[in-house]
Each structure stands twice: as structure tokens, then as C-alpha cells.
């Protein structure tokens, strides 16, 4: 019999506990570095400076964080409805196709039309790629986890086929399309005065807007209330008369549309062409980001920032301290996920005891 979980003050739950978990993950990393003969102070300093130490570093951190914010939101919003969307990677892939098809075919349009339409094209294909598993779950009972995983493979294969055989730039040896028209370029933040050479662009603001919109939709509308009821219990949702089939399909479409932000940030913001592998595993990192962010938009943004910093800092670390194996960054990410996600409540009982004593 599990006793009802006792309550901690909100700031402990939302701030102190995650920070302690992060510290624990870094401490274990330090031990592993000691064990492999590296100086943990030097390495962790390189990680910190590399991710936050300069305007360029911060720019890159934000650039990576943008991708993770989009996929984190995608996973989180579906999870509020009790749906585990493993397919953000494939949805972002399909969104890339949508972005490219619009950008390559309507390049005569002015930027003010071309950019929004490219975004819509991406969001449409991303949403479709997620809504089909949603439909299969709602109407046919096919488990969403299985179908979204399978759609990752479908999307990846389709993109390889189309880019290599159909969309490839004439005469090119590498599998990528020709450059989009300049009108499709999203403004870099550096062009708006940020002193950074990083490709961080307007998509960052879009991610912030998306987070606010998700919060409003899920916590401030009757539809969002119904979504959360469904996420807590399908039985209660049935009693309350919530149309679960419709909600499932809609929230999956929304999730896929959010994942399409990766394509906007990468293709319109940085690469300016469609190329293979641009999704870079962000769809899967998004699962960890959502988990760590407690499936709440604010938490997702913070977790995305952390994972963005780890990605950028890790690249710098491998550059600055060549003795540190590059896998160490993956290791740190894994430990963060382990402590902040899977073992997220490990320190709770101890904190409860300490706080309880202090409160008495």
C-alpha cells in the first residue's frame, strides 16, 4: 500500500529537486572522468564555458534548444492526453519535406508570404504524419507507441527516396536539394542585433509563442480540460462525454505540427535547403525534454535550454579537451535523463524528512 504522497512546497518540487538531480548527474560524470584519467574540473569548465561562456556559445545553445523546445512541446502536449508520441522525429522529417516543397515551388512569392506558407506546408505534413497514428489508435485500437515508431521509419525512408531520386539538386553528388530562394530565409537573431554568429533565428521566438499557446490551450480551454481528463483516465472521460476519438486525432495532429518547428528552425533558419538527417535525433531528445519538464510548457522550455547547453557545451568539450571521449556528452545526457526523469523522485523522501523537520 503506497501512502498518499506527502506534499513539498512548490518551489522545492519545481526548482530544488531538478537542480539536485542535475548536480547528481554532473557529480557522477565527474567521477567517471576521474576514472578515465581526466580532470573533471577542466572538463566541466569547458562544458560550461562552451555552452554559456560567450555570445556565440549562447547563440548556439539557443539554436539547439529551439529544436528541443519544439519536439519537447510535441511530446508533452500528446502526453497530457495520455498519448505517448514517439514519432516526433518522423513528424519533423515529413515537415521538412513540406517546408521544402513549398519553398522550392513557390519561390516567386515575397518573403512575407513564402515563409508562412512554407511553415504551413511543414506543419501540415507533420500534423498528417501524426494524425494517421492518432486515427489508427482512436478508430482501430492500434497502439500509438508502435505506430508512431513505425512512422519514423516510413518518414525516413520516404525522405531518402525523394531526396536521392527526385528532389536532389541537378548535378549534385550530395543528397540535398538546391538552395531555397533567399526570400524563404528566416531572419537570424544576429541580424536583429544579437552579437552572435550562431544560426539562432526567429524560430526561437516562434518556439516561445508555441509554448505560450500550448499552455493556454491545455490549461485554459474546455478542450484542454477534456484532454487532461482523457490523460488521467479514459473511463472518466467516457463518463464525462468527452469525444475521445476526436480529441486523440486532434491532439496528435497538434503534436505533429509542433514537431514541424524543427524543420522551420533547421531548414528555413540555418540550412536553407532540404538534406538528409537534418532532424538529428531531436525527436527522441524531445521525449527526455518533456519528461524532465513534467510535460508543462514552462518546464519544457527550461529542459530544452539544459539539453541545448549540453549539446553545444559537449561539442566544445570534445574540441577543447581532445582526451575526453566524445561519447561523454551522450553519457551526461543519459545521466541527466536517468536522474531527472527515471529517478526524479529518488531524493523526495530525504527532502521530505528534512523539510518536515525544518517545518516543525
Amino acid at each position: 500500500m503506497s501512502a498518499a504522497p506527502a506534499t513539498l512546497p512548490r518551489w522545492v518540487d519545481l526548482a530544488l529537486l531538478p537542480l539536485l538531480n542535475l548536480a547528481l548527474a554532473l557529480a557522477i560524470t565527474a567521477l567517471l572522468m576521474l576514472a578515465t584519467g581526466n580532470d573533471p574540473i577542466v572538463a566541466l569548465t569547458a562544458l560550461a564555458v562552451g555552452s554559456l561562456g560567450s555570445a556565440d556559445a549562447i547563440g548556439y545553445t539557443l539554436y539547439y534548444a529551439t529544436n528541443m523546445a519544439f519536439t519537447g512541446l510535441a511530446v508533452a502536449v500528446a502526453f497530457q492526453g495520455g498519448l505517448f508520441n514517439i514519432g516526433a522525429e518522423g513528424q519533423a522529417t515529413m515537415a521538412g519535406l513540406g517546408v521544402a516543397l513549398v519553398a522550392l515551388n513557390l519561390e516567386a512569392l515575397p518573403a512575407a508570404l513564402l515563409v508562412p506558407m512554407a511553415m504551413l506546408g511543414g506543419a501540415g505534413l507533420g500534423a498528417g504524419c501524426a494524425a494517421i497514428p492518432g486515427w489508427l489508435q482512436a478508430r482501430r485500437g492500434s497502439h500509438i507507441v508502435i505506430t508512431t515508431i513505425m512512422f519514423n521509419f516510413l518518414a525516413a525512408s520516404l525522405l531518402v527516396y525523394l531526396v536521392v531520386n527526385v528532389l536532389i539538386a541537378p548535378g549534385s553528388m550530395s543528397p540535398e536539394t538546391r538552395r531555397f530562394a533567399a526570400a524563404a530565409d528566416l531572419p537570424l537573431l544576429s541580424s536583429l542585433g544579437l552579437p552572435s554568429s550562431a544560426p539562432v533565428n526567429l524560430a526561437l521566438l516562434l518556439a516561445l509563442l508555441a509554448a505560450a499557446a500550448v499552455w493556454l490551450l491545455v490549461w485554459r480551454t474546455p478542450w484542454g480540460y477534456g484532454l487532461r481528463v482523457m490523460g488521467q483516465s479514459t473511463e472518466v472521460a467516457r463518463y464525462a462525454g468527452i469525444d475521445q476519438e476526436r480529441t486523440t486525432i486532434l491532439v496528435m495532429a497538434l503534436s505533429g505540427a509542433l514537431a514541424s518547428g524543427v524543420a522551420v528552425n533547421e531548414l528555413l533558419g540555418a540550412q536553407h535547403r532540404l538534406l538528409l538527417g537534418f532532424t538529428g535525433g531531436y525527436g527522441f531528445t524531445g521525449i527526455a525534454v518533456a519528461l524532465m519538464g513534467h510535460n508543462h510548457p514552462a518546464g519544457v522550455l527550461l529542459a530544452a535550454l539544459l539539453f541545448g547547453a549540453l549539446t553545444q557545451g559537449g561539442a566544445e568539450l570534445a574540441f577543447e579537451v581532445p582526451d575526453v571521449p566524445s561519447e561523454i556528452v551522450v553519457l551526461i545526457q543519459g545521466l541527466v535523463i536517468l536522474f531527472a526523469g527515471a529517478l526524479g523522485n529518488m531524493l523526495r523522501p530525504a527532502l521530505l524528512r528534512v523539510m518536515g523537520r525544518a517545518g516543525r
Partner: protein
């Protein structure tokens, strides 16, 4: 044998147990003699389940001593209890549905790395136990294929196979028909005659009178009386349980039979597995009356209620609300029915009726979340409005504690039920369906809920009550339909109904055979 020369099977001295603010047991003393059937009665929350959980190692007492066969015992977990020969048959069976009887009996008592020798021993032992106590069960039958009564026998056999000398049964007759209950009592007497000690926990006083040798009464965590069953009566036990004389129910005014508000014709409903659970029933519910549907749990009442509420699509038949056909038809769903003055308190509030992890205020708008009353600026949900609504509802309906921010799961069962009932009657519905109005609600709460339902009746609403508690049906209903295997066995008016007549109908005896 004279009771005082043999150490009692179980002796409890001064048992205390506290959960947070709640003192579940205080200074409980209990002596259970060897080879007797000892009943423990008390209202919900009187502490009897906690006491049995302490005896079975589920909880540890804060203070007090446990003696088993005269020897002080420390029971830290159920393994300790089993070692001492104490076994428990839970209200909800602890059986693996897909395994056979034999496999269930062997679970945790496999007797070696290879199954076969242990299994052979178990088959022989099961046959011997079955013969000795008159409860033969095919060891190779799958649990899911057995009727409930047989499943319960498997639980008892499992306990005996593991060497139980003291058997605790928690509300064992809740899921049984009266006949199956009689069979159970026969088995319990056989167990007693062969030296087993039986502890029977129940709130049904009639069973206590029928089968026990002695009885102990608990109230508010204390042991308030011990009696020889032969020297007491249902009336005395009832007073001891509640702590005051049972007031006669206030006389009800005759029903003002209003218009037919809800009608069902030829309604057939299948469950999720495709089994036909409601078999072509007809039903008319009028304004100003309470219609009771009685029956042993699992005879299709649940499916009927869900179908009438729009939660389950019937496979045949017709449903009319206010004379208009709502099924078959588009928009037959709970949300659309609610908009037509229909309200529903579900049978299982924890599974369906409330958002356990959300606040009481969130639970108080469940099903009505589209109501513009909860919107604020820009048409967005207004948290302040929802909280204020929750606070008002909790104040008006005496839901305690009246904190709308409290998580719904932390309210007591009675207060959860009051909150759900408040939500459903707040909008002044014409038709109110209520499943198991007072399941898991203590007596004070029962009375409040019954008064609310009778007030709805007086206000001209049509009220349908489904309950497995005959007392409740008799206290509330103007007309009573008895359901058995998906059909109505007969209809009685409140004046005609008695527990005996209803009991017979519940077992499938037709009304014609009664007259």
C-alpha cells in the same frame, strides 16, 4: 472444550493505529477463541479493516500486543502471518484469472524447482480438502471460467493448502447470491467443526446472526461490545454499531406520479467483451418518483445504467427522454444528454466520477466544462471562477473539508460522493440516475445522501437508483425492479416489497412463482 483452559487463537491487547490525523484503532482488545466463528461488525471506517490488516501484517500497530495461540507474535508482513497460520480471503479475490485452480494454489507454495512433484501433491491435497469441507473444485479449471462462488472456494482452499489455522474473511458475501452465501456458511461451519478459527468481517448483521458464535462490535476505532451471538439481536447490534437507537425512517409522502420522463423499450446491451448483459428490458421512469433497481452485483445493472446514460451504445432497443427518441439517433452521448436535463452519478466514483489527481474544483465541473459560466476573458477558462464555483458547491452541500484546491483523491469516500451528487443536481436536472448511492459511505453520509435524493423526488424529478443494498432500495424506492441475468424478474411497489420477496427475485425466482 471449556474456553478458558485453551489459549485463545488470537488475543489483541490495546492495539493503537493512527494514520496522520485519523486514529483508526484506539486501545482495541479482542479475544478470539480457538475453533469459533467470530464476527466483527462496524460501519465503514469503524476500523475493522485496519485491525485485520494489522493482524495480517499489512500495517504495524503503533502500540499494543498480539498473541497467537497464547504466544506473543510480531507480524511484520504477510509472510509472518502465513507462518503463524493466519490467512486472509480478501473482498477482491487475489487470483490470477488466466491460470488454473491448481496453478493459483501453487503460487508461492511451489515446493521445489520442478513443478510436477509439488503439483501432484497439491492435486491429492486439494481433493482431500475438497471432500473434507464439501467444496470440490476441478483443479484444472481456469479461474476465469468459474462462477464467483467457486472462485471464493479456491481462495479458501488456497489458504487451507498453505496450512491456515486462522482464516480471516473480509466482506465475503458482497458478490454472492443468497444461495452461494449459504454454501459459504456451510463451509465455514465445517471448518470450525474441524478446529479452524474463522474471523468474519461484515456489515451485514443478518449474516452475523446466521453463522457466528460470538461477535465483536467496533465503532470509531474502538471495540464497543463483545456478545455471544445467541444472546444478542440485530436491533442491539445495530444500535451498538451506530451508538444510538436506529430512528425509524420518516414517513414518505405518496409519490406524485408525474409524466414519463425516461423510457426504454426492448433495450439490449452488450459489455466490452460482446456478452449480452441486458436482454431486452422495458422501463418507464416518471417525474416525482424513485425507481429502484435491485439485484446481486453483476446481473447487468451496471451496463443498463451506462446505456441509459449514453456511455455505452445499446445493441438494440429504444430510449426516450422527455418523450423524444434519443436512441437510436445521432448525438446519443453523455454530453448531449446532460444538455437535455439529464444527470448521472456513476456506480464507481473512483473509476468514473472524479478526477483523482485534480483539485476538487476541477472535479466539480467534470462533464460541464463547456458551460460558459466557467469562462472568463477571451472565452478562456477562468481558474478563479472554477475555484469559486467549487467552494460554493462544497459549502452548499456540506462537503468537508470545504477546500476547493484539495486533491479530489484526498476527500473521504462520503465527501467525494457528496461532491459528485452536488455537481449532478446543481443544474436542476429532470432525470437523475444514481448508481450505488452510498457505496463506501459512512452512516452519517448515507443519511445526508438519502435526504438529497428524496428532496429531488419531492421536487418532481425522476430518480433512478441502482443499488446492491436491499436496505437502501427499501428506504428510497417507490417502485422496485429486480434484475437477474439481464432481465427484470418482477416489479414490486414499496408496500409489497420485503427483503424476503426481493431476495427470492434476486436469485431468479419469477414473480409468478411467488404469488
Amino acid at each position: 472444550m471449556p474456553p478458558d483452559t485453551v489459549a485463545p487463537a488470537i488475543e489483541l491487547r490495546g492495539i493503537d493505529k493512527r494514520f496522520g490525523m485519523v486514529q483508526a484503532c484506539r486501545g482495541v482488545d479482542l479475544v478470539v477463541r480457538r475453533g469459533e466463528i467470530h464476527g466483527i461488525v462496524g460501519e465503514n471506517g469503524a476500523g475493522k479493516s485496519t485491525l485485520m490488516a494489522i493482524l495480517h501484517g499489512f500495517y504495524q500497530a503503533d502500540a499494543g500486543d498480539i498473541l497467537v495461540h497464547g504466544t506473543p507474535a510480531i507480524i511484520r508482513d504477510s509472510r509472518d502471518a502465513i507462518r503463524l497460520g493466519i490467512e486472509m480471503v480478501h473482498q477482491h479475490f487475489m487470483l490470477v484469472d488466466r491460470l488454473t485452480v491448481l496453478e493459483n494454489v501453487l503460487l508461492g507454495a511451489e515446493g521445489g524447482a520442478r513443478l510436477a512433484p509439488g503439483a501432484a501433491r497439491a492435486v491429492a491435497e486439494l481433493a482431500r480438502l475438497g471432500d473434507a469441507y464439501g467444496m470440490r473444485v476441478d483443479p484444472h479449471a481456469h479461474i476465469e471460467d468459474l462462477p464467483v462462488g467457486a472462485q471464493q472456494r479456491v481462495e479458501i482452499l488456497k489458504a487451507l493448502y498453505r496450512g491456515a489455522e486462522i482464516l480471516i474473511l473480509d466482506e465475503p458475501t458482497g458478490v454472492l447470491t443468497p444461495q452461494e452465501a449459504d454454501d459459504l456458511f456451510r463451509v465455514l461451519r465445517a471448518l470450525r467443526d474441524r478446529g479452524c478459527t474463522v474471523l468474519l468481517i461484515t456489515h451485514k448483521l443478518r449474516e452475523i446472526m446466521a453463522v457466528t458464535d460470538r461477535v465483536s462490535v467496533m465503532r470509531a476505532g474502538r471495540m464497543v461490545a463483545h456478545r455471544d451471538t445467541a444472546a444478542t439481536s440485530v436491533a442491539e447490534l445495530g444500535e451498538l454499531m451506530i451508538g444510538r437507537r436506529l430512528a425509524a425512517p420518516p414517513p414518505r409522502p405518496a409519490p406524485r406520479s408525474g409524466p414519463a420522463l425516461l423510457e426504454a423499450r426492448g433495450l439490449t446491451v452488450r459489455d466490452a467483451a460482446g456478452m449480452e448483459r441486458v436482454k431486452g428490458i422495458d422501463l418507464v421512469l416518471r417525474g416525482g418518483e424513485v425507481l429502484g433497481i435491485a439485484g446481486v452485483a453483476g446481473n447487468g445493472q451496471g451496463e443498463l445504467l451506462e446505456a441509459l446514460a449514453g456511455m455505452r451504445i445499446p445493441s438494440a432497443g429504444e430510449i426516450r427522454l422527455h418523450g423524444r427518441v434519443v436512441f437510436p439517433g445521432r448525438g446519443f452521448n453523455p454530453a448531449a444528454l446532460r444538455r437535455q436535463g439529464f444527470a448521472h452519478v456513476p456506480e464507481d466514483r473512483l473509476r468514473s466520477g472524479l478526477l483523482r489527481q485534480a483539485s476538487a474544483a476541477d472535479t466539480a465541473i467534470l462533464g460541464y466544462q463547456n458551460d460558459p459560466a466557467y469562462r472568463g476573458r477571451l472565452g478562456l477558462l477562468s481558474p478563479d471562477g472554477i475555484t469559486a464555483h467549487g467552494a460554493r458547491l462544497m459549502r452548499d452541500h456540506d462537503v468537508r473539508p470545504g477546500d476547493p484546491a484539495l486533491r479530489s483523491a484526498l476527500l473521504s469516500g462520503g465527501n467525494q460522493q457528496k461532491l459528485i451528487l452536488a455537481r449532478e443536481i446543481e443544474r436542476d436536472p429532470a432525470v437523475l440516475l444514481v448508481g450505488q448511492p452510498t457505496r463506501g459511505v459512512d452512516i452519517g453520509g448515507i443519511d445526508a445522501i438519502h435526504q438529497r435524493l428524496l428532496a429531488c423526488r419531492a421536487a418532481g424529478k425522476a430518480v433512478l437508483v441502482v443499488s446492491v443494498e436491499l436496505d437502501e432500495i427499501l428506504a428510497l424506492a417507490d417502485r422496485i425492479l429486480v434484475m437477474f441475468e439481464g432481465r427484470f424478474m418482477g416489479e414490486l411497489t414499496a408496500a409489497e416489497a420485503s427483503e424476503q420477496r426481493l431476495g427470492l427475485l434476486m436469485t431468479g425466482v419469477t414473480q409468478d412463482a411467488l404469488t
